[in-house]
């Protein structure tokens, strides 16, 4: 039988799971498609290195982030300080490793907020007809036309003091930034989910589930939602990048986290008045933001190719 082609891969039960014929589960197929996007794979590697560095960095590079040393201010990169020092002689590598945690945490949490709000609203709008759908889409359009950055700045200006009084300076700003960035970015997800629901809920397999007596909730969670997830994953990936930019922008304008928390945007804000004597201070955090955002965007592009089964590669 060796060399002959079976009509179905299940004919030969003794075949190992990793052989080429078996590689047609949706997940393996997606992985095969993702690997063909070379930039996306390279980006995934770079991003993984950055995440590992941020997660393990403080163990490997145990320099305190607020260790002031006036004998070594505004130094360029050297062996003692690989990324140089700032105007107080604080080690920039240690500060960037700490700030990266906050930037990535804000990005992921804001994405989670945006995706969950978007999926819930899109699912409700897609399943219900009539005025609920019309109202939710009207709400989505309303939010889409809001100027995000001025509104973000206004909300932070109005509510920062109240929240920091309740949750402490770090927690309060974190909650505020995450909720506001996530709350201003759910609209594309809601539209995508609604569009997918409108076509999926008329498909035969959902009709079969309905005929078998599945409740609307079970139809959504078990049958429709898993099939609508592809574009949501792509949108969610890109949302992480957008949230990182939004948080860095806030910090860069001096309106984000408190000054003693060195997020990447805050490092740039502090560095911008010393550009002439210490360009490294601005270049390293800026490059970190750029790399994180670029790699996440490329991964999103790769996922778009991988998760759309209709796309021919």
């Amino acid at each position: 039988m060796a060399g002959s082609t079976h009509a179905s891969p299940t004919v030969d039960p003794g075949k190992p799971a990793s052989s080429a014929e078996r590689a047609y589960s949706p997940r393996l197929e997606a992985w095969r498609r993702f690997r063909r996007h070379r930039l996306a794979v390279a980006s995934a590697v770079v991003l993984a290195i950055m995440i590992i560095a941020i997660a393990l960095g403080p163990i490997i590079w145990p320099v305190p982030i607020n260790d002031i040393d006036f004998s070594a201010t505004l130094q360029g990169p050297s062996l003692a300080h690989p990324f140089g020092t700032d105007d107080l002689g604080q080690d920039l590598l240690a500060r960037m490793l700490y700030g990266g945690r906050i930037s990535l945490a804000v990005g992921l949490a804001a994405m989670a907020v945006a995706v969950s709000v978007g999926v819930v609203i899109g699912a409700i709008a897609g399943m219900s007809r009539g005025w609920v759908d019309a109202f939710l889409m009207w709400l989505t359009d309303l939010f889409l036309s809001l100027p995000a950055l001025p509104l973000l700045l206004l909300i932070i200006y109005l509510f920062r003091d109240r929240l920091t009084a309740t949750f402490g300076p770090e927690g309060g700003v974190f909650i505020l930034v995450v909720v506001v960035i996530g709350g201003l970015r759910w609209m594309p997800v809601a539209r995508l989910v609604r569009a997918q629901f409108l076509s999926l809920r008329e498909k035969e397999f959902v009709e079969a589930a309905r005929a078998l007596g599945a409740s609307p909730f079970r139809q959504v969670v078990r049958h429709i939602l898993p099939n609508a997830l592809g574009p949501v994953i792509v949108a969610g990936t890109i949302d992480v990048a957008a949230a990182i930019i939004a948080e860095s922008t806030l910090s860069f304008l001096g309106l984000g986290f408190p000054p003693d928390i060195p997020t990447w945007g805050r490092l740039l804000f502090d560095a911008k008045d010393h550009l002439d004597i210490a360009p490294h201070w601005a270049l390293f955090p800026g490059a970190a933001i750029f790399l994180a955002v670029l790699t996440i965007n490329f991964i999103g592009d790769g996922l778009r190719d991988a998760l759309d089964p209709r796309r021919v590669l």
């Binding site: 001025p150 550009l275 360009p279 601005a282």
Partner: protein, 276 residues
């Protein structure tokens, strides 16, 4: 300040009234054109904004023109040769372009062109002491960097939209008809394809305005352009509430205005759509 004076002041400005009363008082005076005065500079808010609005509109307008000048040719050329080397390079550059945050590109340009090369000034000045051609030249010189930063960021995301819009149209039957009539490829693309492909792009530009205003706030802050974006940031840092409310209100009005323009333009450009 003695407590009785404080009390009298609170009473005079109506600070002890319930929130909805204060809101309606603010709304009615806003509608009557009384926008209050800045706590910091003691200047009326509307004069302050009117002084600064033209600068913002000039910077935003010229950056939009730059974005179009970059995005239209590159997007159209990439769409006529999809998956070619040029298309791939343009696509990668576009990705890099909108992954670079405006505040970082701004700092990079300052570092290269102001500090290392010393070609361009990095602070935008409204009061230039020169006259005649010198005056205009100085203005152009100081606008180059803010306009480039904003324009390239916008252009990078526009390139992808232009490309996909042209790709959608170029497969249609009427384009094949135009080709089979024996028209030149250049005429087919410019007269038949681009005209229809640009309809969604025009509306997209208007709908992108909220993002552009966001970018303008950042660029104005980096280059110290005296527009309403930097006014917003400086009044936030100084707790100057009347100015903050008014500037956000102006931003909101501009966004609504551009949405309206988008809707009207869409109906005018595409006769298949009618509003009834």
């Amino acid at each position: 300040m003695p407590p009785e004076v404080q009390e009298a002041l609170r009473k005079k400005f109506g600070l002890d009234d319930p929130v909805y009363l204060r809101y309606f008082r603010w709304l009615s005076s806003m509608l009557q054109g009384d926008w209050g005065y800045s706590f910091v500079s003691r200047v009326d808010v509307d004069t302050l904004i009117l002084q600064r609005l033209p600068t913002t509109l000039i910077v935003i307008g010229s950056s939009q023109i730059l974005a179009l000048l970059v995005a239209l040719p590159v997007g159209i050329y990439a769409a006529t040769r999809p998956y070619s080397i040029f298309d791939q390079i343009a696509n990668t550059l576009a990705f890099i372009g909108f992954s670079l945050p405006t505040f970082f590109t701004g700092l990079l340009l300052i570092l290269v062109f102001s500090i290392w090369l010393d070609w361009l000034p990095f602070v935008y000045r409204a009061d230039i002491a020169a006259t005649g051609w010198q005056f205009y030249w100085e203005h152009i010189k100081q606008s180059i960097m803010p306009v480039t930063v904003l324009g390239l960021f916008q252009g990078a995301s526009l390139v992808r939209y232009v490309r996909s819009a042209v790709l959608d149209v170029i497969r249609l039957d009427y384009v094949t008809t135009a080709r089979s009539k024996g028209l030149e490829e250049r005429v087919v693309i410019l007269k038949h394809v681009v005209r229809n492909a640009l309809i969604p792009v025009v509306t997209l530009i208007a709908l992108q305005m909220p993002v552009v205003f966001g970018g303008a706030i950042v660029t104005e802050q980096i280059f110290r352009v005296p527009g309403i974006g930097s006014l917003l940031i400086s009044s936030m840092l100084a707790n100057d509430t009347p100015v903050i409310m008014a500037v956000t209100f102006v931003f909101a009005c501009l966004v609504v205005l551009f949405n309206l323009i988008a809707d009207i333009l869409y109906g005018w450009l595409d006769p298949r759509i009618s509003y009834r």
